[in-house]
């Protein structure tokens, strides 16, 4: 009788092959990320000293109003960004503030916030289309800044 | 499954390289070249022809299985002889059924009667036929205990140092030295009869 390499029961073999075929769909994939990055200013004043800054879009402003105490939110910077799979990219959100994003295995990303060149904060978190990531803090004159990262698409 | 003529012209390292890739014909040539040496080494250790043949077969099968581990640090002949020695020594260990050695063995280990033997002033004999001398040596070696015979084989035939022998025989260097000493004394005594017979 010939020796067989595989000695598992036949159904387990069929199951294994079925799972193997579906693994690419089941498992987290390496992905190119398409993002929107906002720098937002929160204030209780209706207008900012610098008139060039527009009010933030209504949907996003409403979300922030429900969470935070400030009444008015202004869009300082908005950019579309793309981070390739397993790559790191740095984005300038203002003269003093940079955001560096690394696409990691699984749904996780690493976000580093730099203020005036210094690392302020490092966060590793899953980023999904269902949930935005906001890094925020208070500033002078009872205002606040918000860096909002929104995942648009994974390829 | 006859030997291809071209293999007989190749060196050992070339044959080993081919055998590593699964060329059984190359391996067959290696077997043909070194089987007698392997058999001889095993026979001097185990003293039994049938056992030596079975162990020789085991040596070659293990060699085939471990070929990938052979990096060429030594010659193939040296490497396979080491495998043969290990297998021979393992066999001897398995054969040692007695947990407590007999008094005779204890005496032999410590030198016993050989300690009291006068020194044999024997010179290598001239005029004796080489084959006859070899046969006498073989008979004398068979009269030694396993440990004494093994230590002589490893030192005189394999050219191993004391510490290498100690590692193979799983004993101390001191034990190797005393076994070698008493083995030589006994051998000299057994071979002294040669001189007295012929002169």
């Amino acid at each position: 009788m010939k020796k067989r390499v595989f000695k598992y029961c036949r159904f387990f073999q069929v199951f294994l092959i079925a799972i193997a075929l579906m693994l690419p769909a089941i498992c987290a994939k390496a992905a190119n990320l398409k993002l929107e990055i906002y720098l937002v200013w929160g204030s209780n004043e209706e207008k900012l000293p610098d008139p060039k800054y527009k009010k933030l879009n209504e949907d996003l402003a409403k979300k922030l109003q429900k969470i935070f105490k400030w009444k008015h939110y202004f869009q300082i910077n908005k950019q579309n960004a793309e981070v390739p799979s397993r790559a790191t990219k740095r984005f300038k959100v203002s003269d003093k503030c940079d955001v560096e994003i690394t696409e990691m295995p699984g749904p996780q990303v690493e976000v580093k916030l730099y203020g005036e060149g210094k690392l302020i904060n490092r966060t590793i978190k899953a980023l999904t289309k269902d949930e935005m990531l906001t890094i925020a803090g208070e500033d002078k004159n009872e205002t606040a800044w918000f860096v909002i990262i929104k995942l648009l698409q994974e390829n | 499954m006859g030997l291809d003529k071209k293999y007989s012209e190749l060196k050992d390292d070339v044959l080993v390289k081919a055998a590593k890739k699964g060329d059984t014909a190359a391996f067959e040539e290696l077997v043909s070249r070194h089987r007698d040496k392997v058999y001889a080494r095993l026979l001097t250790i185990v003293k039994n022809e049938d056992v030596a043949i079975d162990l020789a077969q085991e040596v070659w099968i293990k060699t085939w299985q471990r070929l990938k581990q052979f990096q060429g640090d030594s010659t193939f002949a040296t490497w396979i002889t080491r495998i043969a020695i290990n297998i021979g020594l393992d066999y001897l260990r398995k054969q040692k059924r007695r947990k407590i050695e007999s008094i005779e063995e204890q005496i032999e280990e410590s030198g016993g009667i050989e300690r009291q033997m006068p020194i044999e002033t024997v010179n290598p004999t001239q005029g004796l036929e080489r084959e006859e001398l070899r046969a006498r040596i073989d008979r004398a070696m068979k009269q030694l205990s396993d440990e004494h015979r093994t230590v002589l084989v490893l030192h005189e035939f394999e050219g191993l140092e004391y510490k290498e022998i100690a590692k193979l025989m799983k004993c101390s260097v001191g034990t190797v030295m005393s076994r070698l000493f008493y083995a030589r004394k006994r051998l000299a005594h057994l071979l002294a009869g040669l001189k007295r017979e012929w002169f």
């Binding site: 390499v5 069929v14 906001t134 | 058999y39 020194i119 290598p124 046969a135």
Partner: protein
Amino acid sequence: MMTLEQQLKIQAYVDGELSRAEAKKVEALIAADPEARGLYEELKFAATVLREHEPEFKMPVSQELFWNRIYEQIKQSEPEPIPVLDYLKYLVGVVFSRKNWVPVTATFIASVGIFLLKDVIKPIEDYLVVVETPSDEVGSYSFRAQSEKMFVLWIYNKENVGGEGATKVEPTNIEDEILMQ
């Protein structure tokens, strides 16, 4: 009468296992003591006669017979690989065999179930958050505002701790609890 230690030293000298200093001592002993010289000659003879007359033995089995035995053992110990095509045909036979319809259907349903549930059963890494705030002057805390689908990381100046809170919404769920960084 020599001690055993002296005798073993002479042997080690014969075998070249002594250091130069020790070898010189033994040479002096051999030169001075006839008993030592006699032992040296005896041991040298035993070593030499063996080395020069190693018994030679020919295997009393023909090469063909010996090789056949080895070859059979080698082949038996190696598992026979199944050609991939044969294996696939075998599996197809298993899947489409009538008598196997129950386990095959169960396997298929289990596989589809795992596929469909992959989005429902979130892997644990989706919930893991790592936050580092290297500066001594600032701290951070985080919370999840589930209704607004937002994860917030709030950075504050440690000098200002105790002031009016920035957030309107206090985290209500244990999962949304914050760790002061």
